[in-house]
């Protein structure tokens, strides 16, 4: 059944791409600075956070700008993909009520839109890397793998949220709050070693923590990702995807009536 569905999705690859790319273009179509907003936004956020945390809070981390930027970009991806993904079904009543194709296509393509936006943002990151003369090592090979785990995690969450949002419109507010809390519960601004050991263990249960830590290690600090982290990331993103699809396929038959 999974194979059959994958096959079906493959048949619709053109549509998935078209929807993702269309949404991507649409997001910048009417803004004066166009695509540069995409670059400006993380830069502004970085500037503010950098000023506050390195000067006022005196955080001592090597390459703190890059450390921070990596965290922001990855977290932005999760927050953006789940926010766009959450409205993937609710935002297209026309398509849901009047035509049929596998409806996870909408969620998948909105996650791809978010991915495109984040990849575009990461251009800034690599420019920074060059400016600060941080060498790129072979450990960069882990990066795509981590990105796949992150994408899978985001897709799983988006699947569940998009389906729940059809039935319960306050899901969006709840999720907003959770994301706000998550931003601080994830080592984005700080490194793990400032936390007491018990707290570290709890923070590491958050799949985003390991994703961000491993991404920094492999890209900035030339350290290979630990097998334990890889396994945890794989398992957690797989579990989120399975739960996401389970919720989605349970609720999907009623979409056209409920929306």
């Amino acid at each position: 059944m999974i194979l059959k569905h994958l096959n079906e999705l493959y048949d619709y690859r053109d549509l998935i791409w078209k929807l993702s790319w269309g949404e991507f273009k649409l997001r910048y179509k009417n803004s004066v600075l166009g695509y540069f907003w995409s670059l400006l936004e993380p830069l502004l956020m970085l500037t503010v956070l950098y000023l506050v945390f390195s000067n006022l809070m005196r955080v001592q981390v090597e390459h703190y700008q890059l450390f921070l930027l990596m965290g922001i970009i990855l977290w932005n991806f999760l927050s953006r993909s789940t926010t766009i993904g959450m409205f993937a079904i609710v935002g297209r009543p026309d398509m849901i009520k009047k035509i049929y194709f596998p409806r996870d296509i909408f969620v998948i393509s909105s996650c791809i839109t978010a991915l495109l936006m984040s990849l575009f943002e990461s251009v800034v990151f690599f420019i920074f890397m060059a400016v600060f003369r941080v060498p790129i090592s072979v450990n960069l090979v882990y990066a795509p793998l981590i990105l796949i785990f992150l994408f899978t995690l985001a897709l799983g969450i988006s699947m569940a949220l998009s389906a729940l949002n059809v039935y319960y419109r306050d899901v969006q507010f709840i999720w907003d709050v959770l994301m706000q809390a998550g931003f601080f519960a994830t080592p984005i601004l700080y490194s793990m070693d400032i936390l007491p050991e018990t707290l570290q263990k709890i923070v590491l249960l958050n799949p985003m923590s390991r994703i961000i830590i491993s991404a920094r290690d492999t890209v900035i600090y030339s350290t290979p990702a630990s097998p334990e982290d890889l396994l945890f990331m794989f398992a957690s993103s797989a579990i989120f995807l399975i739960i996401g699809y389970a919720v989605f396929s349970r609720l999907e038959p009623g979409f056209a009536e409920e929306i």
Partner: protein, 403 residues
């Protein structure tokens, strides 16, 4: 082997009294069971469509036609029963789904084509054809929001017909657009039929259904009333569809006649009273809906309170707008009635109703030879004519083209 199989299909919509839209409401309401109305949209529908066959679905508004089509298209799911579709469906349920007003015509054509299942490479090569067919070559790079709705429909339609469908679901697509556009639609439909595409066609346009469909399904309030040969089913719809409601109509008319002797639509000294008017179709059943070109009999029931010499019965036909289309009476047709007394009826027999389509009202009157009205019912009766041909206008004029 059948392409579409529908077995014991049932669809029930649940309409909650108060909609619980948030988690909070759901939690708060979990103590009392939700109250809802159920609405049976479809009940025990059974049919199959063979490969290359064209099935028409007809019925009144709200009879479940579109719901059925949406279930076949997998947009809605059945409450009970099975729907099996063995080939790829191309839904023409609505044209232009997914159009983005902020994108240009050519961008939208590409997106819409992908939605309709045309591959990217294919549409690149056909883009010029599509724009030309829609007559919009000049507007290739115009944003869709600057298009008129007619232009948008044309664009959508010419994109949609680039598909290579196996099963085509059409819902009132022909209802939009002008005559020229409708003609284009019909041509394309014809082409698909010749190519052996399986078609399911929902329409109020009985003329198109008659021309295109091998068999037809008649629904009434979600119940399958008839399935079979298109001509027979359409007759069933037009002449036997909803006897019940027609009876109600004629009863109210009767009440009006008896209860309000002097309304503004009725006058006369009542020496002869018209007690009722009935229309009879070609099967001899009373009704108020007829196929064009079918025979109709108008029966006028009267009651003469004393012996009346030389009465004249007449009718006048009006369009919905109130134009007088036709009128005649017994005198004009050289029928002299010596005298009438007591109750009886007189028939006006129309061998062939030359009206194309529409709703028409009828004046029925009886008056004396010197035009003193006994009873005049001004436009108190009406009937509908269902189209069977595609000529335009009110009436058919018998004619031939010669070259």
């Amino acid at each position: 082997m059948p392409t579409i199989e529908v077995e014991h299909l049932q669809k029930v919509f649940r309409i909650p009294h108060e909609k619980r839209n948030t988690i909070f409401e759901s939690l708060a309401g979990s103590f009392k069971p939700p109250q809802y109305e159920t609405f049976q949209a479809l009940n025990d529908i059974n049919f199959t469509v063979e490969e290359g066959e064209a099935l028409g679905i007809i019925g009144e508004n709200g009879s479940g036609k579109s719901t059925l089509l949406k279930i076949i298209a997998n947009i809605l799911r059945p409450t009970r029963g099975n729907v099996k579709v063995h080939k790829k469906i191309t839904p023409f349920l609505e044209l232009g789904v997914g159009f983005q007003p902020n994108f240009t015509a050519s961008e939208n054509v590409k997106t819409y084509a992908t939605i309709m299942g045309i591959s990217r490479r294919e549409i690149e090569s056909k883009l010029d054809d599509v724009l030309e067919f829609a007559g919009l070559e000049k507007f290739r790079d115009t944003k869709l929001k600057n298009f008129s709705s007619g232009m948008q429909v044309r664009l959508a339609f010419s994109t949609a017909i680039q598909t290579d469908p196996e099963i085509l679901l059409m819902d009132e697509v022909l209802a939009v657009g002008d005559m020229e556009f409708q003609q284009k639609c019909l041509d394309v439909l014809n082409q698909y039929r010749k190519e052996g595409v399986t078609i399911v066609f929902v329409s109020h346009d009985l003329g198109s259904v008659r021309r295109f469909c091998d068999k037809t399904l008649l629904l009434n309030k979600g119940v399958q009333v008839a399935l079979g040969n298109t001509g027979d089913v359409i007759d069933r719809y037009v002449y036997g569809g909803n006897q019940a409601s027609e009876q109600v109509v004629s009863e109210t008319e009767q009440v009006e006649v008896e209860g309000e002797p002097e309304t503004k639509n009725r006058w006369g000294d009542k020496e002869v009273e018209i007690t009722g008017v009935e229309f009879y179709d070609k099967f001899g059943n009373s009704g108020s809906r007829f196929n064009s070109f079918d025979p109709v009999t108008i029966r006028i029931f009267y009651q003469a309170h004393k012996k009346i010499f030389d009465p004249v019965f007449g009718i006048a036909l009006y369009s919905e707008k109130g134009d007088n289309l036709f009128g005649t009476n017994t005198e004009l047709k050289n029928l002299t009635i010596d005298s009438i007394e007591g109750s009886g009826y007189i028939d006006l027999v129309i061998d062939r109703l030359p009206i194309l389509t529409g709703r028409f009202s009828l004046t029925v009157a009886v008056h004396s030879h010197d035009h003193k009205p006994y009873d005049w019912h001004d436009r108190l009766y009406s009937f509908d004519v269902m189209p069977t041909s595609r000529d335009a206008g009110f009436f058919e004029i018998p004619c031939n083209w010669k070259l």
